[in-house]
Amino acid sequence: MIVLLAGIFLTLHLPYLPRSLEDLDSINFALGVRQFDVAHHQPHPPGYPVYMFIAKAVYTAVPDEARALGLVSVLSGGLGVLAIAATAFAGFLHYIGIGRNTVNDEEEEEAEHEAKKIEEEQRP
């Protein structure tokens, strides 16, 4: 179900990757893909190094700056959908009481028996 949601997200986004750069920021990012240099605003500070590092790696396989940057954003969005859905699913499981590690009365009783046994051993 969660993977399906991510799949739907990717299916709706991948065919519409940008074919061109739209404004100054995206041009700076594209220049940064070619040569990372924050001092020359490629891209502008603080440089978004992880984003650029991944974009450069994708650029080796997809030699089009706009598409490479768009692909990183879409794939990150897909992972985001996975993470959000997984968190919501886990939260739902916890809400209905499945999954959470609780201590029941029998375990409290077992602990009390163990404690009494140790306390008796400790008595002089």
């Binding site: 920021d25 990372f36 924050v38 603080p46 440089g47 978004y48 190094p49 992880v50 984003y51 590092f53 886990a90 916890h94 999954g99 959470r100 590690n101 609780t102 201590v103 029941n104 009365d105 029998e106 375990e107 409290e108 009783e109 077992e110 602990a111 009390e112 163990e114 404690a115 140790i118 306390e119 051993e121 400790q122």
Partner: protein, 215 residues
């Protein structure tokens, strides 16, 4: 059969440790939010929480430094209990039982389990790396002391270690919510005998046998 409605309790964390923990936690949230604002263009609006872009850039390293100092005190209190033991490997091998909440199949755990220890050392590693790389990229005071190549490398390493730390803390929070009673231990300081017996049996036995103090 129902046991007594008020089971006996053990002190898990004393007040100074809890205060120390929450100071570090608050610093982490502030550092993470200001760091994320500088991490990706989509998150830049987070700078509004800190008074805009310049203030975010100014405050981030100072809050980060406070977090490192706070965690150093916490690490000093806890490092002995986080040293690896022979049982930790068996605990890690039993990860399937951990996820199934079948604690009885695991070896008796001391004050911290192998997962907690791993987190402890991962945080120390990440914070050390973030501190070192953070100084290199702290342009106001220190960057002029380093070559541009090292600054560029440090920017990248700082972002990567920050990301690892955020992931580690997400797991930490999730585990705390998952093991019912853990959050209470860090807010009120006490756990029931049953909790200690189930999750940290060796620690429970050591306290009752007088081999170590509570808290």
């Amino acid at each position: 059969m129902k046991y007594a409605p008020h089971p006996r309790q053990i002190i898990r964390y004393r007040a100074p440790t809890r205060i120390n923990h929450w100071i570090v936690a608050i610093c982490f949230v502030l550092t993470a939010l200001s760091g994320l604002a500088l991490f990706h263009p989509a998150l830049f609006p987070l700078t509004q929480l800190f008074g805009g872009g310049p203030w975010t850039r100014i405050l981030h390293p100072f809050i980060g430094l406070a977090m490192v100092v706070g965690f150093a005190f916490l690490a000093f209190r806890m490092w002995r209990d986080n040293l690896p033991t022979a049982d930790d490997r068996a605990w890690m091998r039993g990860m399937r039982d951990v996820l199934r909440n079948e604690d009885e199949k695991l070896p008796p755990v001391g004050r911290f389990n192998a997962g907690q220890k791993l987190l402890f050392w991962a945080i120390i590693g990440c914070l050390s790396a973030l501190l070192l790389t953070g100084f290199v990229i702290w342009r106001q005071y220190f960057s002029h002391l380093f070559p541009i190549g090292l600054i560029r490398f440090s920017v990248l390493a700082h972002a990567l270690f920050g990301w690892v730390l955020v992931c580690a803390i997400v797991v930490h929070i999730y585990a705390a919510l998952w093991i019912k009673g853990s959050v209470r231990a860090m807010t009120q300081g006490k756990v029931t005998y049953g909790w200690a017996y189930k999750h940290h049996r060796q620690w429970f036995r050591d306290i009752l046998r007088g081999r170590r103090e509570e808290g």
